[in-house]
């Protein structure tokens, strides 16, 4: 027995030693010392990159790579994000019936491979995305494109003229905003088709080629200011200057992304000068970086909002007074100044700041007395108990715990059920939750993306085909659904913006969504890095203007 005890303890000791060794080696990955002057080294968790193919990629980090390495017909105007400006397209016109968009391409533009960019490449890129039909393809197919009609609807009429036909007279801003998405990236048809593999057509896949799908997963065929030279999953991604780029060429010769997951590790590497930019700093580390004289921070609001939602299938939560009371039970100021400091800004409307028609309003304050009064009106004077599904990551866990405390003061007893992302999301999608705290990222940079998600629910039955966030919370809203549909077809930009503002105002008052904050992306920089600016979306984190001293 004695001996068994000793071996037990040694085992524990050894395990501890192995663990600490692991931690140390993770914290001190091979050091580069000073980074070269023409190279920008970034530490970033890039494990969400599963493909570099613009027709398939729908994750965060690859959006940045594609945004820098490819060009689209139109791009978001960084200086006024409610507008778009030309990318490959020099100019465009919309027909009077609102169905036909004619794009004139810029002259003399070349791909990184040296091939000229023609309207044929644009049309083929659209055809490829629609026929492959991967996650982001809906951004194009929502305009009535299918595998059968795409060659007619997205067509090159000559070398430099591309015509795009949509099925309804949508708001032009909606169509153009959608075309800025990475799925609209223009690919080098000649280069890609050289690597295409033959396929046997079947019922599921009707075409005799894979459109270079296998090859483009890890390769590059674009015309952006940088080219993607190398990608090793969960390790490194290298961008290199594209000398064939038509616009102003980047000052940097290359940009290296190193996969580093932990915030503390990124901070140590940044402080040691192993990297120039650290991308996943948590509030505490960000704070320390901003106090360091050699380092700087930069940030930009992104199109992701965080909210607590109340399932309307729960009889208590379905009462309008309860919905309103909950909006008074979040300690917005305290959360804003602590838990999400540097990574988010309190926002009570569901449209992200900077998007067309975003409403700036924050009428709710933490007010227990007011909430109690509302609960009493709802006949719940003594409070009630609900469960709260929370993903066990920060900052949502912290916010959930804070809400548990503040709601407790009004007699609402909340039981937190933690789980990993998949567990909680599955439950949420099946509408089996009471309370849920989630994040919602815009699918494309247009108010319709969030407008549809939060204030449209065409069919509230359990087996509905369209499952928006409103549906997930069983919020039955025929009027708002009609209004958000009308806003999609409004061709006057100012009127359209107004319609979205009205929708947000109504959601603010009556919705089961307690909006909490809009995510801010922040980065820590070495002092030598200049002109590093984060954009409103991942694909607008442009690296071309960055310089190093």
């Amino acid at each position: 027995m004695n001996r068994e005890k000793i071996t037990n303890r040694t085992g524990r000791l050894l395990a501890g030693a192995a663990l600490s060794l692991l931690l140390v080696s993770g914290g001190m990955a091979p050091a580069f010392a000073e980074t070269p002057a023409d190279t920008l080294v970034q530490a970033w968790a890039i494990d969400d990159t599963i493909t570099l193919d613009p027709a398939e990629s729908f994750e965060l980090s690859p959006a940045e790579f594609i945004g820098n390495a490819y060009d689209m017909l139109v791009r978001l105007d960084i200086n006024d994000t409610t507008k778009v400006k030309g990318g490959i397209a020099d100019s465009w016109t919309v027909s009077d019936d609102g169905l036909t968009y004619t794009f004139k391409l810029k002259a003399g533009v070349k791909f990184a491979s040296g091939n000229p960019v023609t309207a044929e490449d644009v049309a083929w890129s659209f055809e490829r995305a629609v026929k492959l039909d991967k996650s982001p393809a809906f951004i194009l197919t929502q305009f009535g494109l299918t595998g059968d009609n795409v060659t007619e609807k997205a067509k090159a009429v000559d070398e430099s003229t591309f015509v795009f036909t949509v099925d309804k007279a949508y708001a032009p801003s909606f169509v153009l905003n959608c075309l800025t998405a990475t799925v609209g990236a223009v690919l080098d048809k000649k280069l890609v088709m050289e690597h295409a593999e033959a396929k046997t057509p079947s019922d599921e896949y009707k075409y005799d080629t894979d459109f270079g799908y296998g090859w483009l997963k890890t390769n590059y065929a674009g015309s952006g200011p940088f080219k993607i030279r190398d990608w090793r999953a969960n390790e490194i991604l290298v961008l290199e200057r594209n000398d064939n780029y038509y616009g102003e060429k980047p000052a940097l010769a290359r940009v290296i992304y190193r996969h580093v997951k932990e915030s503390a590790t990124q901070r140590l590497m940044l402080e040691a000068g192993d990297v120039d930019v650290a991308r996943n700093l948590e509030p505490g580390d960000l704070d320390a970086v901003s106090k360091n004289a050699d380092l700087a921070t930069t940030s930009a609001p992104k199109g992701t909002v965080y909210y607590i939602s109340l399932n309307q299938k729960n009889a208590n939560l379905a009462k309008p007074e309860v919905r309103e009371a909950f909006k008074y039970l979040v300690d917005y100021d305290a959360i804003g100044s602590t838990l999400i400091k540097g990574i988010g800004e309190i926002r009570q409307t569901y449209q992200a700041k900077g998007v067309l028609g975003a409403l700036e309003a924050s009428p709710y304050k933490f007010d227990v007395a007011k909430a109690k009064e509302l609960l009493e009106k709802a006949g719940l004077k003594d409070g009630f108990s609900v469960t709260f599904d929370v993903r066990n990551t920060q900052p949502v866990t912290g916010i959930a715990e804070s809400f548990q405390q503040t709601a407790g003061q009004a007699g609402v007893n909340i039981e937190i059920i933690p789980g990993d992302g998949k567990q909680t999301l599955t439950k949420y999608r099946a509408r089996n939750h009471d309370l849920y705290i989630g994040q919602w990222g815009m699918d494309y940079w247009d108010p319709n993306s969030n407008g549809e998600a939060f204030t449209s629910n065409p069919d509230n039955s359990d087996d509905a085909s369209v499952k928006t966030l409103a549906w997930r919370n069983a919020w039955d809203i025929p009027e708002l659904t009609a209004e958000s549909k009308a806003a999609l077809l409004e061709r006057d930009n100012a009127k359209r913006a107004e319609m979205y503002q009205k929708l947000q105002q109504q959601a603010l008052e009556t919705s089961p969504f307690v909006m909490i904050f809009q995510q801010t992306e922040a980065a820590g920089l070495r002092g030598a890095v200049k002109n590093y600016k984060l954009g409103p979306s991942m694909d607008t984190n442009f690296l071309a203007p960055v310089t190093k001293q």
Binding site: M1, E4, K5, N8, R12, S263, A264, R267, E282, G284, D285, D287, A288, D331, D333, A334, I335, S337, T338, L339, N392, Q394, T397, G398, A400, E401, S402, Q404, Q405, G408, I416, I417, P418, G419
Partner: protein, 305 residues
């Protein structure tokens, strides 16, 4: 006075006790003297008694609420007057949470001991006394449980049962009985053929009676020692589950979960993770010292009794 004390001592230590009670008290007294002679063991006992004291009087001792903090003004304060161990990321007083957390720790330790020890004792003594295929079946089941690392098996059970302190206790209990069964079986094998057992058999006692009344009592002292020594391990396993988010759920002030939430601030606000870490260290050390002392004091073969 001293005369009377001397006589009481002599009465306890006499070679010829007049009654069963006197003999038992005498043996307990000897064990206690041997235990107190070991300074480290006494320190262990004091630590554990202190833990029990904290757990019982938590509401009186804790300076603040363990659940309600001031997020806006009192977040991540460093240790100082007002908050002796600082505050955590929700602005809650860490000292108060540690004090309330002692209740959870004791709850886990006691419940696991109460569930696991009797199971192990029963399985081990039955297997040892019955022998044959009963022994083979019971011991192979024990072997299967022993083949898994304890924490990994507990993780699997909690994942199946769902996170929560109650399920964590069940999972730890399920994974910690096999060593007790092994010990009980070994002890049983050494006594099952002794004369007094055969005497009881001749008198017509049923196997259950023999196991329950004549074998189990002999196994108990080594089992108590083993359980006490294991308590440190139980605390660590519970803290490990809490750390991984599978044990106590927020806002319960479980020490392992407190370390997990403090880990994010380890570079700048080290005390958030350090305070519960030190608490786990001290209590585990206390149980280990106590267990070592108990083994020396209770081991019947240790002295010429």
């Amino acid at each position: 006075m001293s005369d009377a004390a001397m006589t009481r001592r002599e009465w306890l230590l006499t070679d010829r006790p007049q009654s069963r009670l006197q003999a038992r008290l005498g043996r307990a007294y000897v064990a206690w003297r041997r235990f107190t002679a070991n300074r480290l063991a006494v320190i262990g006992l004091v630590i554990i008694l202190g833990l029990v004291f904290l757990a019982i009087f938590a509401p009186l001792l804790a300076p603040h609420s363990p659940y309600i903090g001031d997020l806006a003004k009192a977040r991540l304060l460093s240790p100082g007057p007002g908050h002796w161990l600082g505050t955590d990321d929700q602005g809650r007083d860490i000292l108060s949470r540690l004090i309330y957390g002692s209740r959870l720790t004791l709850q886990v330790v006691l419940l696991v001991a109460v569930i696991a020890a009797p199971i192990g004792l029963l399985v081990g003594t039955v297997a040892g006394y019955a022998g044959g295929w009963v022994d083979a079946v019971l011991m192979r089941i024990t072997d299967i449980f022993l083949a898994f690392p304890k924490l990994v098996l507990a993780l699997a059970f909690v994942a199946a049962l769902g996170p929560g302190i109650g399920n964590a206790i069940i999972a730890i209990a399920i994974t910690s009985w096999p060593p007790y069964a092994r010990i009980a079986r070994a002890e049983t094998l050494t006594v099952r053929n002794s004369d007094y057992i055969q005497a009881v058999q001749l008198m017509g006692a049923s196997p259950w009676r023999i196991v329950l009344r004549h074998i189990m009592p002999l196994c108990i002292s080594s089992l108590i020692v083993r359980v006490t020594l294991d308590m440190a391990g139980i605390i660590l396993t519970a803290a490990g589950l809490g750390f991984l988010g599978l044990g106590a759920q927020p806002p319960l002030p479980e020490w392992g979960a407190m370390i997990a939430s403090g880990r994010r601030f380890i570079l700048d606000q080290w005390w958030v993770a350090a305070a519960p870490g030190v608490a786990i260290l001290i209590v585990s050390l206390g149980f280990n010292l106590l267990g070592d002392g108990l083994r020396d004091a209770l081991d019947p073969r240790g002295s010429g009794q």
